[in-house]
């Protein structure tokens, strides 16, 4: 759910590995980000509408991933996938670190890019700056 940069990239990887992938997004233009050889299906619809989730066959899915730009939409759709449709593997992206921690403590599988990326940036800043130009030159 969510065909932005991350959603489209993930869908392409999973498709290439031979999985049956359905991508859901409210904006039909978003599917242009998928590679031209993408074999999965695309559906225009709102992922927090249970009728839409039912129509795309969430009940029979092995996994559900929510990566829209909205934390709350991701949280709500993930909880619907898990508690209404019984999907076993549900992963939810949450940008707000506080909410991410809270929902992780509530038993959700969450990915919090804010803390992860901030940590990576800090590590990069602490590394010696000379390395890269030296190896090139």
């Amino acid at each position: 759910m969510g065909c932005g940069r991350v959603g489209a990239e993930l869908a392409a990887i999973l498709d290439r590995e031979g999985n049956q992938v359905t991508v859901l997004d409210i904006d039909p233009d978003s599917f242009g980000q998928l590679p031209s050889d993408f074999r999965g299906s695309v559906v225009v619809g709102n992922g927090i509408d249970q009728d839409v989730l039912r129509r795309v066959g969430v009940a029979g899915a092995d996994a559900f991933v929510a990566v829209t730009p909205g934390d709350n939409r991701n949280v709500m759709a993930s909880q619907m996938a898990k508690h209404l449709f019984g999907v076993r593997k549900v992963v939810c992206r949450i940008f707000d670190p506080i909410r991410e921690e809270m929902y992780r403590n509530l038993g959700m599988e969450t990915i919090g890019p804010t803390r992860v990326v901030a940590g990576l940036l800090k590590e990069a800043l602490e590394r010696e700056p000379a390395e890269t130009p030296a190896s090139e030159g």
Binding site: I48, D49, N72, Q79, I98, R99, M102
Partner: protein, 224 residues
């Protein structure tokens, strides 16, 4: 009582106004600065600018001592998360949420929101009672004898919801021959089959019994 309202739109505003008049301590949390100013100008200093889903905002609002937490924004996902944060992080005793999509009632209940209010469902319930919005659809007329095959969808508030087929007082020479549930699964019903809200029911009936059949399958105690 100390009551926190998330969302300063029309619902939040009039709700706060009434609760203030009733003598309660009220705080509205609203994202939009201009809207906050407007509320404060009209109702006194009771608006806090911020995101009602964020822990920091709820902390500043004193959510820990709130007796009642009400989320009434126009977005169900925001209402859900605000209530979940209030319950999980601040242990509010009672969280009430407005829901815009009536079908979200089930998931909100499952996730521990104490009360949900759907204006859509309220309006629907009223017009469903006043309009014959659940007509029998005549699918075909059988040769001779004045028999018809008809279809009707069982409304949510129908009296037959939860009853077994054998408990239904169908008009004479009427017979339910097929039910299709909300998932689209067709079944040939037995006497013990339980009628569920949203079922599409296909029945054979006499033309003159149509109204009576419709009344049995779609009627409620107050209506019809």
């Amino acid at each position: 009582m100390y009551i926190i309202i998330v969302g300063g739109g029309k619902v939040g505003y009039y709700l706060a106004k009434q609760l203030v008049e009733d003598g309660h301590e009220v705080l509205i949390i609203e994202k939009d600065a201009a809207r906050c100013e407007q509320i404060s100008a009209e109702l006194g200093d009771i608006a806090l600018r911020g995101d009602g889903c964020e822990g920091a905002t709820l902390e500043a609002a004193g959510t820990g001592r709130a007796d009642l937490f009400i989320a009434v924004t126009g977005d169900d996902e925001d209402n859900l998360v605000a209530c979940q944060v209030a319950k999980t992080k601040f242990s509010v005793a009672r969280a009430v949420s407005r829901i815009n999509n009536p079908k979200n009632e089930e998931i909100f209940k499952k996730l521990g929101i104490d009360t949900t209010v759907s204006s859509t469902a309220v309006i629907l319930a009223h017009i469903e009672q006043e309009l014959p919005s659940h007509p029998l659809i005549a699918l075909m007329t059988l040769r001779g004898g004045g028999l018809e095959i008809v279809e009707v969808k069982i409304p949510r508030h129908s009296d037959v919801v939860g009853k077994r087929i054998r408990e239904l007082l169908l008009p004479q020479q009427s017979l339910i021959i097929l039910t299709i549930d909300e998932e689209g699964t067709p079944r040939i019903p037995s006497d013990e089959t339980v009628v569920r809200a949203g079922d599409e029911v296909v029945a054979v009936t006499r033309r003159e019994s149509e109204d009576a059949l419709r009344a049995v399958l779609t009627g409620t105690q107050e209506g019809e």
